[in-house]
């Protein structure tokens, strides 16, 4: 089984810088199961919004749709010594050794949902931080964070001023803000995305 070549960074690639045209695109978020929807609410299950740790919300892992297709979310890494290499940050001009078939497998129980970058980028309406009044606001931003095995990896992060949430807030403040973020992510998760919504990624963005 060959690893999907279109996911691998190429030597001539460069970081995709933020541009307003990204707001016309969507990102995909993987989930550990296809059983995504809470039948009691019709919305994505809370535990799947972040399935590993709440701290993921500080650097929320997604994939830019376009060249990355929903089926690519089925790629799962074997827990071997090579996994850290492939899931670590790719740097420009770095040549990536293609993964071997023993490095990954294809999940059968595949779950994912989507977010409109426009929605994420406009989030939130200003949030006042009581302790850090008067002017500080938490803001969300979407950024390209390619890893060696996936050039299309994007992160969703929140900052207060120029500082990461992790370094700015106390434990309970972080819980409160991240509770809000979780609410936002549940409310705005798109469970089905028509194929025509997936737009091509212009080459000039990354070549």
């Amino acid at each position: 089984m060959l690893y999907p070549d279109h996911l691998l960074p190429k030597v001539g690639y460069r970081l995709i810088e933020w541009r307003k045209e990204l707001c016309e695109h969507y990102v995909l978020r993987s989930a550990p199961s296809a059983d995504l929807i809470d039948p009691d609410t019709g919305m994505v299950r809370a535990r799947f919004v972040n399935d590993n740790s709440r701290e993921q919300l500080l650097d929320y892992s997604t994939n830019l749709l376009g060249i990355f297709r929903p089926n690519d979310a089925a790629v799962e890494w074997e827990r071997n010594e090579r996994k850290p290499y492939y899931t670590s940050t790719w740097t420009k001009a770095e040549i990536v050794e293609p993964p071997k078939s023993s490095d990954f497998y294809i999940r059968e129980d595949l779950g994912y949902f989507f977010y409109a970058i426009d929605t994420l980028h406009q989030y939130p309406q200003p949030i006042n931080i009581a302790r850090i009044q008067p002017h500080t606001q938490a803001k969300c931003y979407v950024c390209h964070t390619p890893v060696r095995a996936n050039f299309w990896h994007f992160s969703v992060r929140w900052k207060i001023g120029s500082d990461d949430i992790e370094t700015t807030l106390t434990k309970n403040e972080r819980r409160a803000l991240l509770g809000l973020v979780r609410t936002f992510l549940i409310e705005h998760a798109i469970l089905e995305l028509p194929p025509d919504k997936i737009k091509e990624i212009p080459e000039i963005w990354y070549k």
Binding site: N52, R131, R175, L180
Partner: protein, 196 residues
């Protein structure tokens, strides 16, 4: 019993939903309707003509019993779901005081249920928290309790959305958040039902 905890400051307060006065926020898409047009009340109870005080009393008692039964059924379903989730991810709540967890969660569930949500669910997270989500018409309430063996009282957050937009967001001790929930939902509930 829960005792008053040290109270951390309110954290985020996007917009106070309590300032809202539009009763249509809690329209007939709540789980029940005083007029009986929608929801879980059998239609024969609401459309039947009554001719005496005895009949009115009988009808009212039947209605109250029906509502109570529905609340109890939904409460049991939430308890069962929570139990299943806790058993599936037992390690997450290993060090947590089970009594505090059960008591807190039961309080959240009951308080959300008495305001007759059209939808309600419970889920756990990998952060040893339990999150309840209740829909009252277009208002969605997210009440999350965080459990930590070093904290005798759970920390909680309350987030309220309307048409996907967050209109209230706050974190604090469980008792503070409970009061916030009641102060938001009670006037809206009274106004919505008083208009019928």
């Amino acid at each position: 019993m829960l005792s008053p905890p040290p109270s951390p400051p309110a954290y985020v307060n996007v917009q106070d939903v309590r300032e809202w006065t539009n009763s249509s926020l809690l329209n007939n898409r709540t789980g029940y309707s005083p007029a009986g047009q929608t929801g879980n009340i059998p239609s024969n109870l609401s459309t039947q003509q009554v001719h005496s005080l005895d009949q009115i009393e009988q009808k009212t008692n039947t209605l109250i019993a029906q509502i109570q039964r529905t609340i109890d059924q939904k409460f049991k379903k939430l308890e069962t779901t929570l139990q299943q989730r806790l058993e599936a991810d037992r390690a997450l709540f290993d060090k947590i005081n089970v009594t505090v967890l059960r008591q807190s969660c039961a309080l959240v569930a009951r308080q959300m249920l008495i305001f007759l949500p059209s939808r309600i669910s419970v889920d756990i997270t990998t952060d040893a928290s339990v999150i309840y989500q209740a829909h009252y018409g277009d208002l969605h309430f997210y009440w999350e309790c965080f459990f930590d063996s070093s904290e005798p009282i759970p920390y909680a957050t309350l987030n309220v959305t309307h048409n996907k937009r967050i209109h209230f967001s706050k974190g604090g001790d469980f008792i503070t958040i409970q009061k916030d929930f009641q102060s938001i939902i009670t006037p809206l509930f009274k106004k919505a039902f008083g208009n019928h």
